[in-house]
């Protein structure tokens, strides 16, 4: 996995995530989705890396598979953040136009 290092210790999983590839928000959003299955701690580990520590709530959780799942989610969240930047204010304009129509939409678009 590019930019993610895995460490299994006792019954916990630590993922070291490269800050240059994944934004903090992506890590937070991804981690939040798994709080029903693990206790999660997030802290910086070095200049380039953030540590995400997972302690499973159910000891039968397969940490290997779980790690893969989290990595996919992290990737999706980062892709989402990248895409969201490209929308500019389009989403706001859609809602505005729906409820409080704008005279000239073209002039308001900022992308």
């Amino acid at each position: 996995m590019d930019g993610i290092l895995k460490r299994f210790e006792k019954k916990a999983l630590t993922l070291e995530v490269n800050k240059e590839l994944y934004q903090k928000e992506a890590i937070l959003f991804a981690a939040h989705k798994f709080i029903n299955r693990c206790f999660i701690t997030i802290e910086p580990s070095s200049e380039k890396y953030i540590n995400v520590l997972f302690r499973p709530k159910d000891e039968n959780l397969q940490l290997d598979d779980f790690a893969l799942e989290f990595c996919n989610e992290l990737l999706d969240q980062q892709v989402r953040l990248n895409i969201e930047k490209s929308y500019g204010n389009i989403r706001e304009l859609i809602v505005k136009q729906a409820f409080c129509p704008i005279e000239n939409i073209q002039n308001e678009i900022k992308i």
Binding site: D76, V79, A98, I109
Partner: protein, 486 residues
């Protein structure tokens, strides 16, 4: 187009469906299935502009390589359409004429009282103020739904409310309808005559065939209800017409394995649809959860089996719909709004529906009333005799509740691909984990909706002509091509 980008992405949400594809949904709930490769190309701006996938995405306003403003325009029209349930403000008004009940349902959420109890009936003054408050709502459509207890135990007050509402409506000229939620055991020809005269329809509960129904819904004094129910159902239908009597069910644990039998009973008794509902975490249901509760995953698994069974019945020629699936299918397949108070964004509490208790207390939802009966007044908005309409419906309490019940602003929900089809239920959230916001990661509602939605998408993706025809017959509320009804 500006920049060096070959096309501009328009707002969309996505999720992985399995290992080889994504579900992509635009801002107004229009969806497309993209194989991994195409999704990758889409987000990396390398999708071929001549290919049919590119044109599909353009038609669904997920990208544009020409103009942005017209896409915004078209999306805005559809967005407004999807949120049209907000326009009328409160249209569903649930009125509780009495807390007394002659039933003893094992999962009762209401903290009902004995039929002979005193002090739990709505008095005339409160009834009057309730109706007057209802008509201050700006909605052109008003539905007054009698709940309880068993409303027929205070039939006189019910009559008074209907008559007074109709009197006021001569001036207000709204589209006024009445529904009575009743266990049907106390129905008499005289009551039905009144119902017919005032165009009142009936919503009742049918939990399954005789044994199951009696187990779940015994009357007080351990009397059995199924026999009376069936007889009165027939009588009600004959007087009011089949379309004016509907039924729903509740699912305690022992019903989970009985869905097929329950569905068969509904068909036997001539119903055309069933609403398979899981147990709510309120009142008696919460207290009894050890005996009648279950994990939501169990419910979902049985629900899917039941849905498959119902689809099979339809394919063999019996027109019969499942109501929750129908609601979700309307949200996925049509551009139109659906007004389902318990699952929408912003939530329907107060702004779509409100509850007027026997003592004049106004609650943001029926579940809010149930919590109050257990001692928690979190969702009390006011009282018709002491609080003004603007304080009840425009006060800080309701405003704050609504602000916290928009999926668009919740973590996880705000970027969930299924957001357009889902909704918030702040009262349920509060009952389940102590605060009104959605905690999607841990919420049972999320698990349920997500599983069922993904299953429906699986069926939709097959693009099976016959299954599509079944789905649309449910949405249209009529059999495909006039095929004979059961």
């Amino acid at each position: 187009m500006n920049n060096a980008k070959p096309y501009q992405l328009l707002p969309f949400r996505f999720m992985r469906l399995n290992n080889n594809k994504f579900l992509v949904v635009n801002e107004v709930g229009e969806y497309i299935f993209l194989p991994n490769e195409n999704f990758d190309k889409l987000v990396n701006y390398t999708l071929d502009r001549q290919c049919s996938t590119f044109l599909d995405l353009k038609a669904k306003h997920i990208l544009t390589d020409t103009y942005v403003a017209p896409a915004i325009d078209m999306l805005a029209v559809k967005y407004r359409t999807k949120k049209a349930f907000l326009y009328n403000f409160t249209s569903l008004h649930m009125v509780v004429p009495t807390l007394r009940c002659n039933s003893n349902c094992i999962y009762c959420q209401v903290s009902k009282k004995d039929p002979n109890a005193v002090g739990f009936d709505m008095d005339k003054k409160t009834a009057r103020k309730t109706v007057e408050t209802i008509f201050i709502s700006p909605s052109p459509c008003i539905k007054i739904e009698f709940q309880g207890g068993e409303p027929l135990l205070n039939f006189n007050r019910l009559k008074y409310i209907v008559n007074y509402a109709q009197k006021l409506n001569k001036k207000h000229k709204r589209d006024l309808v009445f529904v009575v939620c009743t266990n049907l055991t106390l129905i008499t020809p005289a009551i039905l005559k009144f119902f017919k005269k005032h165009n009142i329809s009936i919503s009742t509960s049918l939990d399954g065939p005789c044994d199951l129904h009696n187990k779940n819904r015994p009357l007080q004094n351990n009397k059995l209800s199924h026999g009376k129910f069936v007889a009165n159902l027939k009588l009600s239908r004959e007087t009011l017409g089949r379309g004016n009597v509907s039924a729903l069910m509740t699912t305690p644990r022992h019903s989970l394995d009985q869905f097929k039998k329950i569905i068969d009973e509904y068909i036997r008794l001539g119903f055309h649809n069933i609403f398979i509902r899981n147990l709510n975490p309120y009142g008696g249901a919460k207290q009894e959860s050890k005996t009648i509760g279950y994990a939501i995953e169990d419910f979902v698994s049985k629900y899917k089996d039941a849905l498959n069974y119902i689809i099979e019945l339809n394919l063999k020629g019996t027109y019969f719909a499942e109501s929750f699936a129908t609601l979700l299918l309307q949200r996925i397949l049509t551009p139109f709004t659906t007004g389902f108070v318990d699952l929408q964004s912003p939530a329907g509490v107060g702004i779509e529906g409100a509850v007027y208790d026997y003592n004049g207390n106004v609650y943001a939802s029926d579940e809010g009333r149930m919590l109050a009966a257990m001692g928690d007044q979190e969702f009390l908005l006011g009282n018709v005799t002491t609080t003004s309409y603007s304080q009840i419906f425009g006060g800080d309490k309701l405003r704050s509740l609504i602000t916290k019940s928009c999926l668009e602003a919740m973590p996880i929900c705000s970027h969930c691909a299924l957001q357009s089809y889902c909704g918030a239920d702040p009262v349920r959230n509060y009952a389940e984990h102590g605060d009104v916001e959605c905690h999607a990661a841990t919420s049972n509602t999320c698990k349920k909706c997500r599983s069922i939605l993904l299953y429906l998408f699986e069926l939709i993706e097959r693009n099976d002509r016959d299954i599509n025809r079944v789905f649309w017959s449910w949405i249209n509320r009529s059999p495909f091509e006039g095929r004979a009804e059961n």
